[in-house]
């Protein structure tokens, strides 16, 4: 075995096997984290994240810090159960909204179709943002999500416009 001492200047010879693989969403905990991360559970203040000095942990499955603090403070079992129920319903509601937005049957269950949608390559910007001046607010967002008719002029008789609808520049 002879290890290469020098690599190509553009690192093109470094094999992809060294790439870190993203953890797919396969269970409820991962789905919850996905929904939280992309703003389906609570809207995210994206600009605040940009300004943060400390990084959120790369461990996606660690419970939120405030939840652990409440455990340490010895919250009562019934209080914990109520909170768990609230979070569960929030999760289901978020999941339903996600399913609806993605054209998946709205079941509130993490089924195969939902997992597939969550595991698609996607942009890291959250889907739901706080309704400040950051980006557009969600109401404008909803208007943009509607399809709308527009008046397309039709060709008159006499010379046809030779240009087609090709998308090739």
């Amino acid at each position: 075995h002879c290890e290469k001492l020098f690599h190509n200047r553009d690192y093109s010879d470094i094999s992809s096997s060294s790439q870190h693989q993203a953890r797919p969403v396969r269970n409820q905990a991962a789905a919850e984290e996905y929904l939280r991360k992309y703003g389906w559970t609570d809207q995210i203040n994206w600009e605040n994240i940009q300004r943060q000095k400390t990084e959120n942990s790369a461990d996606e499955h660690r419970a939120p810090q405030d939840w652990l603090d409440r455990i340490k403070e010895g919250a009562s079992a019934s209080k914990q159960w109520q909170q768990s129920q609230a979070e569960s319903s929030a999760y289901i509601e978020a999941l339903k909204q996600f399913q609806k937005a993605n054209g998946i049957p709205v079941t509130g269950e993490l089924n195969k179709a939902t997992q597939e949608a969550m595991n698609k390559p996607r942009c890291g910007v959250p889907d739901r943002l706080v309704s400040e001046s950051t980006f557009m607010d969600n109401e404008t967002h909803d208007i943009l999500n509607q399809t709308s008719d527009f008046n397309k002029t039709t060709d008159t008789n006499g010379g046809a416009n030779m240009t087609g609808t090709s998308k090739v520049r």
Binding site: E47, Q50, G124, T153, G159
Partner: protein, 427 residues
């Protein structure tokens, strides 16, 4: 700090084709400058593509937005990084001091900050356009730029702002609704044109039959656009420099285009200053000498006795076989059969009276254009146009004056998204 301002969109401030209800919402944020700089950071080059390929694709992504809004982008590799408006880079895991860690191959492929920077996850397999396998860097870049400019995710089929990546067989483009979305923030492109015309040419179809076709062109300064009337937009990839598409005529500032088309004559002329050129359709370039031995360019006064250049604009009216030359507040008609002007010059306002009082360009027209698509004549001045009353208008309303000018409208309300791009992005 990024240079942006909170703006209240209102009809008096921006020409934005939106309903009044949207103006009552929270103020929208947008860059306030007309030109933004960008840079692909040296420490953020991708390991997958050559630097040239990366820059080429990013340049194309910036250009695609520039083609639909009055905003230009210029690559800046010299200024201090803090002065660059948009910085882009590729990274993996914890990258470039970013607060958001990439997750490796799969799922998240990029993110962007409004009015800020764009990061691409180099653990994901990015490809150049027309390279089928992998994630199109162009599509991702256009999407992330949309965020930088102020757009959120949009759950609409066909939108470039959908959060999930959707592979496509052919090149993608910004569709009508995506254009409207970004124009809600930045307004529409609205600048005067030098000349507008339909270029008639004949071709043979598959059966050997000659068919007559037309293309609509808009000229401004040194650029031109082919306008697709059916699609309410310009041809993808336009504008193009005049010198590339129209060889032999001046490379900027064309005053007029005239196509004399009779049973016995078929000649195309371009005018600039005191001169004019004849265009050779067969060879797609200007004549230096035509079949009749006439050399070009010629003085307007020689080719059209009685007409002194420079002119503002002109058009050929096939109904009366006159060329209408416009200069200041006057119009001169030149008959192509007699080669003479007759009883002119006259005031434009007398020959083409206003339908609505005081709604008239009066003088210094930018362009006069007969549209085969609309079967109407239009006068252009500044950002507005006036339609000349035609037979159909008269049938609808017999009280309209012959050759009257209908009330003015915004050019951008009828011909959409004819936008300049930065010269560095021209092919």
């Amino acid at each position: 700090k990024k240079r942006f301002v909170k703006i209240l969109l209102s009809p008096s401030q921006r020409e934005v084709p939106v309903g009044p209800d949207l103006f009552n919402r929270a103020p929208k944020m947008a860059f306030s400058k007309a030109k933004l700089t960008w840079r692909l950071m040296g420490e953020g080059y991708s390991n997958q593509l050559s630097v040239e390929e990366q820059k080429h694709v990013l340049r194309m992504a910036f250009r695609m937005w520039s083609e639909v809004i009055p905003l230009e982008f210029e690559e800046d590799n010299h200024s201090p990084a803090s002065m660059v408006d948009i910085k882009l880079g590729f990274g993996t895991g914890r990258h470039m001091g970013c607060t958001r860690t990439f997750d490796g191959n799969g799922q998240e492929f990029a993110h962007a900050w409004q009015f800020g920077d764009i990061h691409f996850d180099d653990d994901d397999h990015f490809t150049t356009p027309n390279n089928g396998n992998g994630i199109s860097l162009l599509k991702v870049a256009v999407h992330e730029l949309g965020h930088v400019l102020g757009l959120p995710h949009i759950y609409r089929m066909g939108s470039v702002m959908q959060p999930s990546y959707i592979p496509q067989d052919s090149m993608f483009e910004l569709d009508w609704l995506d254009r409207k979305a970004i124009q809600q923030l930045y307004g529409v492109c609205n600048s005067p044109f030098d000349t507008v015309f339909d270029w008639i040419h004949s071709e043979k179809n598959e059966y050997g039959e000659t068919i007559i076709q037309f293309n609509t062109y808009f000229f401004r300064n040194n650029l031109y656009w082919l306008y697709e009337n059916r699609n309410n937009r310009t041809r993808y990839g336009d504008p193009i420099p005049l010198s590339v598409g129209w060889q032999g005529i001046p490379s900027s500032g064309i005053d007029a285009f005239v196509h004399i088309w009779t049973w016995t004559r078929d000649a195309i002329y371009f005018f600039k200053g005191t001169q004019f050129w004849r265009y050779d359709n067969e060879n797609d370039q200007a004549y230096t000498e035509d079949a009749e031995g006439k050399k070009y360019p010629k003085l307007i006064s020689e080719g059209f006795p009685g007409v002194q250049g420079p002119i503002d604009t002109a058009f050929y009216n096939k109904r009366d076989q006159n060329i209408y030359f416009f200069k200041s507040s006057n119009v001169i008609t030149f008959n192509v059969n007699t080669n003479q002007i007759n009883g002119y010059p006259k005031r434009i306002i007398d020959v083409f009276p206003p339908v609505v009082q005081n709604d008239h360009p009066i003088e210094n027209l930018n362009a006069a254009y007969y549209s085969y698509h609309y079967q109407s004549i239009f006068f252009f001045k500044s950002n507005f146009f006036w339609k000349v009353v035609n037979d159909w208008d008269k049938k609808q309303n017999p009280l309209l004056p012959i050759n009257g000018l209908m009330p003015k409208k915004n050019i951008s309300d009828q011909w959409f998204d004819i936008c300049d791009v930065h010269y560095s992005m021209l092919n």
